[in-house]
Symmetry: C2
Subunit: 578 residues, 2 copies
């Protein structure tokens, strides 16, 4: 059984996650988080919030998951958010055509190819339907839009879509968000929430689902002014798999500090280097194994046309003797001003998607002013006078010299009019400008929460031998473990159970996440807690009640070592460790 | 301006909530929570979780928002989750027909009427389109399903729906959830998440949106065994608007403790009384004004056919001189075994939706065993022998005496066969049963989170006069206030700003939600914090740096009183108050 299977079985057994609606046969791509998984996921989200939202002074919002069509016309998702699909004429199975090619030929990154190219490769390699082995040569490859569509309102309604990424809810609300930031750049906005992609071939488990959670951050900056404060991050070491290293194919990484990566231009955008540093520390904190972690730069063909540099955080999710399998768990991209410009244009509210940038000092500029005497143009040109005046104004503004000598020649509807320059007066005025409207640029770290949950479980999973007995244990970090302390009575007898319940309740009141368990023997209960990654187990036994002051045993998960602790020091003991 | 307008404007101005996608003209029924609103909402959710999930030992799960069609066939939403709609033949506007009747006639609770009855009332009262005044007599009233529909998977896909309530995700997963509860009743499962209803006429703001958040709890019980532990709730006083009081129409309430309400049978289900007690204390804690709060019992016509008793928590959201307006903010219903039975039947997995209930002691039952000698029946009846044997077995089991004397008469396909009783041997065996499969019953408190956010704002909103100046203030409870402490320097000069930033950062590290502000004069900054309901403002002034040890002023929101506090005691001072 491979590591993925082991983790999935543990996840099902202990209530981390499982296929939704199994009683109905399930629907591929939808998972439910059980009690332990929901708590683990919330802990990861809360930790992300502490680091990337509160910790950086960014503001979190919560927008709807259903959004109207024009938003996705602007963002480009309506036209471009497609995967290539091929339907088997024999059995009707739909397959992702680029994956079919990648899996069965030497071709990599087929996602960037055209449907015609993919059709050609299917023919050339004689590829067959993975379900029924029917030959697919000559079968049409089509684009399939990955957004879930619905209809809003009664009757025919208007088209709505489940958002394919949470950030469109941030861009769309920029006009208000800039107010809350008092029109001062830089400012960052975050959102943690559901996003949806109607994947053609979802994978089992949490890796490629159709409904998932993203934690995204959009930092809006003035690219001319705003630089990251590197004080706290400059010495953080990054393991970088740059485009160069990927080409060399030797699987080597560049190890560089954030500062070095910027100075040596390994990372093209200083803000990205800054966020990679923060992200690395965060991943470490939540228990991602740094030996199975790297940052990989996007190849040119991979990144969106508007992104000038893009790096992914990747985790190796393979087991010990398995082939390496790198999974993207976050992306860091520089989106420039692409999104705000598009939303400005499509909504017809361009100014709302800009921000007024005040100059340090007002700037005095010369501006050409053109006065046209309509008392002259009117009688001469009648209905056309207005249009002619407009053309003259535009031309003279561009090149004031045309009004200097002789008539001004205006072309209108195929006719040429010679307008006497006495009708036109040109002057130059000094205008004081205090600032200008600029479109902020965007740096966007975007995290997949479900994949992070999965990686935390995979990296935490271990089988070892304790007291000659095999055990399965999750080495979860204290930061995210769903249960922090389990409290057991040796037996639910002679007051031990009551005392243990009291202690559990007191620890709970102190803010810890505590589970009480009295079922089965102590060994079984330890195994149960090991499997959900509980860092500490507290046992109330007969000595507890005899000792003065009372004592309990505290057993640590990883070492399985036990220590006798006085009850009146228990809370402090645990808090200092957790 | 009425209270609702005032709160909405404050909400927009200060970033609590606002219409989504305003730049695109917005779509009715979708709201975005700004930075303050998202924090307030999360605080309310976290407080609910503490009380109803962790506090009661219930387990929280997180399921998908998109669910497959068979789930809603089972739950009844596909067929019955409709509102009545009438489309104006003149202007095309769709109106909710029962609301049209209620708003323009003396008729109440029109929701329970048939479409024909509504058509009749529209004709009788000569009702017109609210948009264009066209007469609607004779226009068809139709049922409109309120679920958002989508398609899952490529090609034609399968039908999926955005869940109209979060609980269906709990019922659907019952087969696994009972495992995590080790098959022991009672156990409770909670879920906080998005739900969706394609309302015909959404209201502005948070009151009736198309996408909203629910916090729901399903307690699964054995109705014969499980009773609530009333120890902590029995003396809590409830303001009850029972069906009786509603009929009397004098607007009087019954005030009774939880215990009295059960004993005097004002509340029919003891578990509902239990949860009303817990809910009341919770609402008080998060700042709902108890003078504008009540529990209202559902009329018989209002509640679902499967619910034996149902109460709503209601809040009056009207302003001081406005007519009372009671808003449902939670519902508490006894759903019996309706949902689990339905899911068992529709999924074809009935046993999975039951739980094995062990008897205290095994029960020994007598069971009649019928042995039929096919060596006799076979030769005599040929092809019909099997069927005849089945009939005999059934009949003898029901009444063993028929096999005692003479032949047994079997009717098959219009013929009567007399079977000699020597072919049939009857014996009685003792069978030991250790338990039986039962379908648990469900108690379901269900909370509307968005409406709770709205009520907290409405009940917290106030305008008063401070130092001869009008101020707007939100009296939010410390439990939910989005900002707990604001820290200001008198001016960002001479080290005051730096010191204030340090203090803000230290308070943040101690776990408080802190905002730093140095823009505008102090008065303006106090007003700003009053408007978002910040309980305490800390100001760093020149005295701060001179005093030994350093001191700051702490200003309390409601009284606006200021106190000088030593910096080394500040954290403790604030923690004790918050």
């Amino acid at each position: 059984m491979n590591l993925d299977n082991k983790v999935s079985q543990l996840a099902k057994r202990r209530g981390f996650y499982f296929q939704s609606a199994e009683a109905y046969g399930g629907v591929a791509g939808f998972q439910t988080f059980g009690p332990q998984g929901a708590e683990l996921k919330r802990n990861i989200e809360e930790s992300w919030r502490d680091t990337f939202s509160r910790g950086l002074g960014h503001k979190e919002i919560e927008g709807p998951t259903v959004m109207p069509e024009p938003v996705f016309q602007a963002s480009g998702h309506l036209d471009g958010f497609d995967d290539m699909i091929i339907e088997c004429p024999e059995c009707g199975t739909n397959t992702r055509a680029d994956h079919l090619v990648e899996d069965n030929t030497g071709v990599e990154e087929a996602e960037g190819f055209s449907t015609e190219q993919i059709e050609g490769l299917i023919k050339e390699h004689g590829l067959v339907c993975p379900e029924c082995n029917e030959h697919l040569a000559g079968v049409e490859v089509n684009d399939f839009n990955l957004m879930f569509k619905t209809s809003i309102g009664p009757g025919d309604g208007t088209n709505g879509y489940l958002r394919p990424e949470t950030v469109q809810g941030i861009f769309t609300e920029f006009p208000r968000l800039k107010q809350y930031a008092r029109n001062q750049l830089p400012f960052g906005v975050t959102q943690i929430g559901k996003a949806y992609r109607n994947e053609i071939s979802p994978r089992k488990g949490l890796v490629r689902t159709r409904e998932f959670t993203q934690a995204e951050l959009d930092l809006f900056i003035d690219p001319e002014e705003d630089r990251p404060d590197l004080t706290d991050v400059k010495d953080i070491e990054l393991k970088l798999y740059s485009v160069e290293e990927q080409k060399s194919d030797e699987g080597e990484y560049i190890v560089a500090t954030v500062e070095e990566a910027i100075e040596e231009e390994i990372i093209g955008v200083n803000w990205i280097a800054y966020y990679l540093g923060i992200a690395k520390e965060w991943y470490k904190e939540i228990g991602i194994d740094m030996d199975r972690f790297r940052f990989r730069q996007h190849q040119k063909g991979e990144r969106a046309h508007y992104a000038s540099d893009c790096w992914d955080a990747e985790a190796d999710i393979s087991g010990e003797d398995e082939e390496e399998e790198w999974l993207e768990i976050a992306g860091f991209s520089y989106r420039g001003c692409y999104d705000l410009k598009k939303h400005g244009q499509h909504s017809g509210n361009e100014r709302e998607f800009k921000i007024f940038k005040e100059y340090d000092e007002p700037v005095v500029q010369e501006e050409t002013k053109v006065d046209i005497d309509m008392g002259i143009l009117g009688p001469e040109y009648g209905d056309e006078a207005g249009e002619i005046a407009e053309i003259i104004e535009r031309e003279v503004r561009q090149a004031p010299s045309v009004a200097e000598d002789g008539p001004i020649f205006v072309h209108l509807d195929g006719e040429e009019h010679a307008v006497d320059n006495s009708a036109v007066e040109v002057s130059v005025e000094e205008v004081k400008k205090t600032g200008e409207e600029i479109t902020p640029e965007v740096v966007e770290p975007s995290f997949g929460v479900d994949r992070t949950v999965y990686t935390v479980l995979v990296h935490g999973y271990n089988e070892d031998v304790v007291d000659n007995e095999k055990r399965t244990v999750l080495h979860l970090s204290n930061e995210v473990a769903p249960v922090e302390v389990a409290v057991f009575p040796l037996m639910d007898k002679e007051g031990l159970g009551d005392r243990a319940r009291e202690i559990a309740s007191e620890l709970r009141d102190s803010g810890l996440n505590v589970e009480y368990d009295d079922s089965g023997n102590i060994g079984k209960r330890y195994r149960r807690q090991d499997e959900v990654g509980t860092p500490y187990c507290v046992t109330v036994d007969y000595e507890t009640l005899e000792d003065e002051p009372e004592t309990v045993t505290v057993r640590e998960r990883d070492s399985t070592e036990q220590e006798r602790v006085k009850i009146n020091e228990l809370e402090e003991y645990l808090s200092s460790k957790l």
